[in-house]
Every structure is written in C-alpha cells, then in structure tokens.
C-alpha cells in the first residue's frame, strides 16, 4: 500500500495536534516551584532533617490530593548549614535560579534575621519556624511564622514554673543567641510581673558542652527551679549533667529538649523532675489527622516526628490552600495568608496578626514516671 500525499498531510496534522496536546498537557503539569532553605548538615541539622522530611511528605500528600488545581508542587531544598552566610547564599540561589512562588525558611531565628532583607527584595511570601520575637518585630510583611513565638513559649514555661511547680526562686539558663536571650528576658520579665523575680540568669555558647559551672552557680544562688532555653543536643546535655551533678530541683525546658532527637540521648532517669513546653503535644492516641501524620511519618522515615516538622507540614497545607484559592501571584497569596483566621492545622490553629505571628497555643508536658513517654500536663493558649 502506497503512502499518498493525503496520508502524509493527515499524519502531519495528527503529529502537530499530538505535539500541541502534549505541550498543553505538559504546561498543565508544570509544577509550582517552592523553595526551602533548611539546615541539612551541621549541628542544626538535628531538627533541620525533621522538617526536610515533613516537607517532603507534605509535597507527596499535596500532589496525591491533586496538587494546586491540577498542578503538582515541587519543593527545591538548599542547605543553610549552621551559618547565617550560608543561609543567605542558599536563599539567594533559590531566588535567582529556581524563582519559586513560595519559600519555607529555616527554623533558626538568626538565619531568619539574616535572610529577611533578601526576602523583602524578592517579595515572595515565606513561612518560617524561628521563634525570636525580633524576626516578627522586623516588620517584614512577607514572613509568616508557623510556630509559637519565643515570647509565647517563654510565657508557657513561666506558667509551668508558677502554676504547676509553684516556684518561688526560679533561675534561668539560656543559649546565647537571639532565641535564648529573647526567651530568657521575656521569662524574667513575666516572672517579675508575677512577683517572683529570678535569682540568677546564666548563659552558654552554642558549641559549649559543659554546663556544670552555670548549673552550680544557679544552685548556689538558691534557685528552686531552673528554666532552660535550649536547642536539642545542648538541652539533652544540660538535663544529663544536671542529673550527674545531683540536682533534685525541678527543671523546665523549652521545646527543643523534648523532641525525639533529644529524647533518644536521654534515659528515663534523666527526665525525672523535668517539665517542658512543647509546641504541640503529638499524641497519636488522639486519632484523626494527628494519628495519621505520626504513624505515616514514622513508617516513612524510621524516626518519630517532632513538632517543628509538623509545623512545616501544616504550613505546606496552608500554603496549598491559599494557592488553590488565589493562585500563585505573590501579592495575592500574601494578602490571603495575612487574613487567615482560625485555620485548623494538625498541630495548631493558625490566625495571623499584623506581625505575621500565627500560633499562640502550646502544651506543658512531663515524662511518665520511669519512661520517656511524654504526657500532657496542661494545654496553654495565650492571647
């Protein structure tokens, strides 16, 4: 059978139609790019890896659910390591090369503070989990916080010390950076306002490994309770060293010392007499979306999830809902996020104020006697 001119023209038309259809299909499937700057290596990677995992899981879940009105999302990660300079470079690289429609920034406030001016230039909305009040006070309208600010956490710790432990002479130990200093000062002011002034405040550096001098100094000043503002690894070390030094007084830690990364370094004995606030009480037994998230995360990554990662998972779904409703235009999305009120995530209820703070709830927890299982002492919601 010969191949006529009519056949040739027909096949050409068919091929052209196919390629056009393919192109249209390809355009429809073109992903919405999201940039994520995460400390994936270095000393901050303990928690960084958690939110890289949770964002990866959120990406899969959002795409399985149809993406953004049929378009999948694609999260491009860049490593911030433990340095502000690297964090800025990572952000600029994403902004210039990937040109994402949205950013997730590190949960470390010093990195957030360093990146904030660059974000202001790029003018794309971003979510972050750094707690320092200074970040929100900077007035960058493109930044939206997805976990409690340090002042909220500090207030929760004060409530634990005053309401639960009935402390009379509290002392404060804090890591010497934006997070630690801000939290410690807020706690000291709140305690003073409650008529319970602190007996002493001691600091330590981010790379310090021995805290005996600070702990003993607070004990010698007569502290009957110590509030500790820490990151995961140093938090675990402080709790262990307090036990080795024979401390019997109650210790109230900020959330990082009770994330799985820190708990795996502690024994049940190290947690005796330890209270803490966590951003969210992640109890799978409550069922529903919390159970689904906790169990699937553990099955997928082989480790327990932590509240920081959950905040990013919630944040990704909040972002996706905004994109579905108003599209990916940066200004429209920013306006939509700024108006979010009472959005129910898994870990928190999100309502944004003028400074971009979205979370005001947390939980006071304590380990069950002889175990490392945390139990809820009291939920805390602050206005």
């Amino acid at each position: 059978m010969g191949f006529t001119r009519k056949d040739f023209l027909g096949s050409m038309i068919a091929a052209t139609m196919l390629s056009l259809t393919g192109a249209a299909h390809g355009q429809q499937a073109e992903p919405v790019l999201i940039g994520a700057t995460v400390p994936m290596t270095g000393p901050l990677s303990l928690t960084g890896k958690q939110y890289q995992n949770s964002l990866t899981m959120a990406e899969e879940d959002i795409n399985k659910a149809g993406g953004i009105n049929g378009r999948p999302i694609k999260i491009v990660f860049e490593d911030t390591q433990a340095s502000n300079g690297t964090a800025v470079n990572a952000f600029v690289k994403l902004a210039q090369e990937t040109k994402p429609s949205f950013f997730f920034l590190s949960s470390y406030s010093t990195q957030n503070l360093a990146v904030a001016p660059e974000l202001k230039k790029v003018q794309v909305p971003a979510m972050y989990a750094g707690g320092a009040d200074a970040v929100a006070d900077g007035g960058n309208e493109w930044m939206f916080r997805i976990r409690p600010a340090d002042s909220v956490s500090a207030e929760g710790m004060v409530k634990a010390a005053v309401d639960v432990i009935k402390a009379k002479k509290p002392g404060i130990l804090y890591i010497q950076n934006d997070f630690g200093q801000g939290g410690a000062q807020t706690a000291a002011k709140r305690l003073e306002a409650a008529g319970i002034p602190v007996v002493g405040m001691e600091a330590y550096g981010q790379n310090d490994k021995d805290f005996s001098a600070q702990l003993l100094s607070l004990r010698s000043k007569g502290a009957d309770t110590i509030l500790i503002f820490n990151y995961p690894q140093d938090g675990a070390l402080v709790l262990r060293q307090a036990k080795v030094l024979g401390f019997k007084m109650p210790l109230v830690t900020s959330s990082a010392a009770l994330v799985p990364a820190a708990l795996q370094l502690l024994s049940p004995a190290d947690l005796e007499g330890v209270w803490g606030v966590t951003d969210a009480f992640m109890d799978a037994s409550v069922g529903g979306r919390m159970k689904d998230y906790v169990e699937r995360f553990k099955a997928k990554f082989g480790i327990d999830p932590d509240p920081y990662g959950l905040a990013y998972y919630d944040g990704a779904f909040l972002m996706a809902e905004g994109m579905r409703k108003v599209g990916t235009d940066a200004k429209a999305l920013r306006e939509w996020l700024a108006a979010v009120n009472g959005w129910q995530g898994i870990g928190h209820v999100y309502s944004y104020d003028a400074k971009g703070n979205g979370v005001r709830d947390l939980a006071v927890v304590k380990a069950k006697a002889g175990t490392k299982t945390l139990e809820l002492v009291q939920p805390v919601t602050l206005n």
Partner: protein, 291 residues
C-alpha cells in the same frame, strides 16, 4: 566548698581531654614540623570508633576499647602514608591547607556514615557518682583524670626509657642527624602519627559519654587544644598537659566565678596574651619556623 570541688573535678576532666588532644598536637609538631589542623577530627574519629565497637558491634568493654584504639592506630598509619608523605615536601601553606582539607573530609565522611544525630556513648563506669563532703562527683570524670594521668606517665616512660621513644625525640630534635645516626626515620615519623591518633582515640572514648558522640564535636576540641599548646608552649609535652588542664579549669571556674557569658573569652584572651607577651608559652620551647 562542695560546689568548688565539683567544679574542680569537672574542669580537670575536661582539661585532661584537652591535654591529650594537645599532646597529640605536640608529638606530631615536634616530630614532623606539621601543625595538624585535623586534630579535632582525630578526637571525633576516636569517639566514633567507640560508637562502632561499643554500640554497633556490641563488643564487651575491654575488647571494644582495644578494637577502637586499634582502628585509630591504623588510621594514624594511613594518615601518615596518604596525607603526610605526599605533602611533606610542599610549602608550609600547602601542608596547613592539606590538614584543614583532610579534617573537613573526615567530618563529612563521618556525617555520611553516621548521620547528623548524636549517639549516647556509654561509660564503663555508667552514671555512678560519689559524694565527697557534699560534692557529687561523677566517677566517669574521676576515671578520665585517672586515665590521663596513666597516659602521661606511659608517655614519660616511652620518651625517656625506651629506645623507640628516645629515637622519636632524636628525630624531633634533628631529623638529618637522626638519619645519619642510622635511625629508621620514616618508621619513627609514622609512629608519631600513630601515637597522636591513639591519644586522640583515648580522648574521644573518654569524651563520648560526657558530650555525646557528634560529628561536629571536633572543631571546639581543636580550638581548645590549640589554645592549650600556645599557653603551655608549642612543642612541649609538659606544656601541653599544663595548658590543657589550665584551659579546662579556666573554662569551668571562669564560667562560675567570673561570667558564663565570657568563659571562652577568658581562655582565648589568655592565649592571645601569651602570644603577645610570651609566645613561647609557659615552658619556653622556642617556636620553630616550620608548620
């Protein structure tokens, strides 16, 4: 008083670890003229050798410690062959950059192999404590001081009573003369690296239960060991011991009695003071030109 005793023992324990790392620094510098900027990573490798033998392989204490130190000895020999020998004829800058680069490679290799999560390395003395007049002292901290004392005594015997040690000192004093005297110089130089690695291994194994095993632990140790050698005297073994203990004690006592916010400033401030006023350190070894 009880608090002071607690602080003193803690400071001595930490200072002992710095001293061992500093001794490794000094042995390598004296013998080869190379300042080993990977010294902190040597200690980190020692801790992770313990993770491999104690946690992963679940070996009994004595076997695990022996195996970890054997791993470190092998590592020291490999470092000599693959890093020192190719670099030794290079300029000072080349050697410095070489050891810095190898330190970074070691850190990244550990990160890829063990991940970023720290490990809780157990102590053979567990979490036991003793009460000394109201001061609660960790038996592990006492053990660290005891082991360091034994190591220092062993080193004294090695360098003063054995032909190998005397040979190492001869190489350190004058390499060409040692060669002319028929000493097997390369073997003695290799032994310096092996000894430095084993000392770092001991420091790492003792440090693991105190600080957790962490791939990023090397840098702060290297900085403190470097400060210790400057204060004690570059090239001096007694200087390394005194410098290490001084840095450990100044860190802990300074944080308690001066200011916890400025404790690093105290030890590094003193180091800078020495560099300005007495660059040869307490024990007065003349700083050489190489490395």
């Amino acid at each position: 008083m009880a608090d002071f005793i607690q602080l003193l023992v803690n400071g001595l324990a930490i200072g002992s670890v710095y001293a061992l790392a500093a001794i490794g620094f000094v042995i390598v510098y004296s013998a080869t003229g190379v300042v080993n900027f990977a010294a902190g990573q040597f200690v980190m490798f020692g801790t992770f050798a313990g993770v491999v033998t104690l946690i992963n392989a679940q070996l009994p204490w004595s076997v695990a410690y022996g195996a970890a130190l054997a791993i470190m000895a092998l590592f020291g020999a490999l470092f000599f062959i693959t890093v020192y020998l190719p670099l030794r004829r290079g300029s000072i800058v080349t050697i410095i950059i070489g050891t810095v680069a190898v330190g970074i490679i070691m850190q990244n290799a550990a990160l890829l192999s063990f991940g970023s999560w720290p490990f809780r390395l157990p102590s053979p003395l567990e979490d036991r404590v003793v009460n000394l007049g109201g001061a609660i002292i960790s038996t592990h901290a006492l053990g660290v001081v005891g082991v360091t004392t034994l190591m220092v005594a062993g080193l004294w015997v090695l360098f003063n009573r054995t032909s190998v040690g005397i040979g190492m000192r001869a190489v350190a004093q004058d390499l060409q003369a040692a060669k002319l005297m028929g000493l097997k110089v390369n073997r003695l130089l290799a032994l310096s690296w092996v000894l430095a690695a084993v000392l770092a291994g001991v420091a790492g194994l003792m440090l693991g239960p105190m600080w957790f095993a962490d791939v990023n632990m090397g840098d702060p140790i290297a900085l403190k060991a470097f400060a210790a050698t400057i204060i004690g005297g570059f090239g001096s073994l007694p200087g390394a011991i005194v410098g290490g203990l001084f840095v450990g004690l100044s860190e802990v006592l300074g944080a308690s009695y001066v200011s916890s916010a400025y404790k690093d400033l105290i030890s590094f401030g003193i180091m800078i003071l020495f560099l300005l006023v007495r660059p040869q350190g307490v024990f007065g070894e003349k700083i050489q030109d190489r490395g």
